[in-house]
Symmetry: C2
């Protein structure tokens, strides 16, 4: 079990350097022998700009992909698995887009494909779902899966900042990209929600789920929710019941005294419900060099110890958004269809699916692009 395993890193940015550091300091039976980098950044004797050179190196048993983006990551991962190399990745975008293909390639070539770092950074989320599923069906999951948007909402609420100021601060701290769309429009959470649904429900999850972000939220919106004892957070959610499943990404109003409302700064919290184990919640750093590097190294160590996961996409579940039907509010100068007044300039729409809610919001946005929507608890 404690043989020496040679691995290669694709990418040596924040996450790649974290992996390199942790392995050098803490994992005696694994060594990073090759690193793929851009031609003008080959600062280390292990570095090469040629993926084919790494692929042809038979001493490399495992490839860690931490470049991000869809291409060339997709091509490289598929080639590595086809060449009989294990793959560990933190790249949620490419996994969400091609999960079933990668899992099948891994299966066919007798290697492991592991993705712990793609959702929840250092939180042992994927492994925990897999463990729960040895015994239990997972009936639902939900969570704050994006630290950037949690940081923004947390600053807005605690310090009374406007959205743009909070976003600017997140960018200064390196929590948000210069183009923050993937975070604030919910795309990052959508990728993590798709991946979680695949693992939790054994299904090749739909890619066109309803996705709404927090770009239009205002300080006044948060104050209004607070006056109802509520706080808004951006959630990814999924539910599975009677051969059907639903997934959605949207702002959700939750009680101020809930764990989710208390999640500070750029932390994540993810929850699942298992049949016998009941509800479980996991909290930690969802991003960053060392937490994400830690999750990757945990996967690498599992491969080195001969453990592997088999992702199964065989369940023939029907996608049915009505499983997540509930009440919504839309703050807008424009009155949406089927709405009743909830507060001045805020409309409540009862018992609609997340897909219907998203359609309503898009229609309102045609006339009022500042409109903000959130799912609310039934009793409010």
């Amino acid at each position: 079990m404690w043989f020496l395993m040679n691995i290669a890193l694709l990418g040596h940015g924040t996450v790649g350097r974290g992996v390199d550091d942790i392995i050098a300091h803490s994992v005696p039976n694994v060594q990073v022998t090759r690193i793929l980098e851009l031609p003008d950044r080959l600062s280390d004797p292990r570095m090469t700009a040629s993926f084919d050179e790494i692929l042809a190196d038979d001493s490399v048993e495992l490839i860690v992909e931490c470049m991000g983006g869809i291409e060339p990551a997709h091509t490289f991962i598929a080639a590595a698995l086809s060449a009989g190399k294990h793959v560990v990745t933190s790249n949620k975008a490419v996994v969400a887009a091609h999960f079933a293909e990668f899992a099948e390639l891994a299966e066919r070539n007798g290697v492991s494909f592991l993705i712990e770092a793609a959702v929840g950074g250092g939180i042992p989320w994927i492994a925990s779902i897999e463990k729960v599923r040895r015994i239990d069906g997972v009936t639902s999951f939900s969570g704050i899966m994006n630290g950037t948007t949690n940081y923004i909402m947390d600053c807005m609420r605690k310090e009374g900042l406007d959205f743009d100021v909070a976003l600017g601060r997140a960018q200064e701290l390196g929590y948000a990209e210069r183009d923050p769309s993937a975070d604030i429009d919910g795309i990052d959470v959508a990728n993590k929600t798709i991946i979680t649904a695949c693992v939790a429900f054994d299904v090749d999850c739909v890619h066109d789920l309803p996705v709404t972000g927090i770009r239009t939220v205002t300080k006044r919106d948060l104050d209004r929710f607070a006056s109802h004892g509520l706080m808004v957070k951006l959630f990814g959610r999924g539910v599975c019941k009677d051969g059907r499943y639903a997934v959605a990404v949207e702002p959700v109003a939750i009680p101020l005294m809930s764990l989710e409302a208390a999640v500070p700064s750029n932390f994540n919290i993810v929850s699942l419900e298992g049949v016998t184990v009941g509800p479980l919640k996991f909290y930690g750093q969802g991003a960053g060099s060392l937490p994400t590097g830690n999750a990757i190294v945990q996967d690498v160590m599992d491969v080195a110890a001969g453990r592997s996961e088999h992702f199964d996409f065989s369940r023939d579940l029907i996608y049915d958004p009505s499983l997540l039907a509930g009440d919504y509010v839309i703050r807008s100068a424009v009155e949406p269809d089927h709405a009743s007044a909830w507060a001045p300039g805020v409309w409540k729409i009862r018992n609609i699916t997340p897909v219907q809610a998203r359609s309503l919001l898009e229609k309102v946005w045609e006339r009022d692009p500042t409109a903000f929507m959130a799912s609310i608890p039934q009793e409010v």
Copy 2:
């Protein structure tokens, strides 16, 4: 890997029945073939009142101990391990009292000794600490490890109940025993704290740690803390630094907007801090037939899959309570030594260790047995 494994249950109470049900429904490669029960309760053909009969049965490879209490559990576990049988237990009292002995017996006889269910019920706490420690040192842990006392504090705060009324309700719901001392005096949390420290710090943790419960807390105490933005919960805590460690069990005042303050009803939350992974928190049902049964069955499945944990008590750490030094308040008609007034009838004592705090409280209790003490954040 998927051979059929025969196991025996010692005890068929709440937890034992949960294990029996979960294995029958969800674990095809394991079967419960023997159950130890009292002579007047042998209602099932698998049952026997003779432990020696089970011990002598060579087809039984693993024994699940869920009787509770120190004896005869201690004798039975030691005998089972010595006979080359794996042991899985949910019994925190016997593990806290004899952990090093059991671990050594398991090691010597080449079998597994697993204890996931002893701390945090269905929460994968022990396994998560072990996983984190593959890479990271654990520098501290803390948590709400007792659902009964969390339920009492939560009721008192949310519904304004007196301690006795809240305790009575916990007893009606089956959360508290008729003699609630082990819960409300912190003994249960002390056992879980000792076990956690052993696993997290690789040390044979001291047994005479300072332990203070919540027996004397009043509704007015909680109101007073709330007016300072604080909520009190019963915590088990440990810290490890520079070759030293400390552990304590006591009421701790925490910010109202923290995750710990938001833990509802009889749920648990446990936290650790790892060097690279940062803080991680785990939330779930800390007790109950199915959650605890689930944790036991997870351990059984790990043994069936050939996985085993090795608990190491070899670290030569110095026990140093000053690592947990901080500020305390004592509410009492009697003024403690070295105290300043914090509020009418409430005294603040700065920068003392949990051991000193406990001594002060015991001295105050000699004249005022209603006194209540809590650790408070430095800035209050």
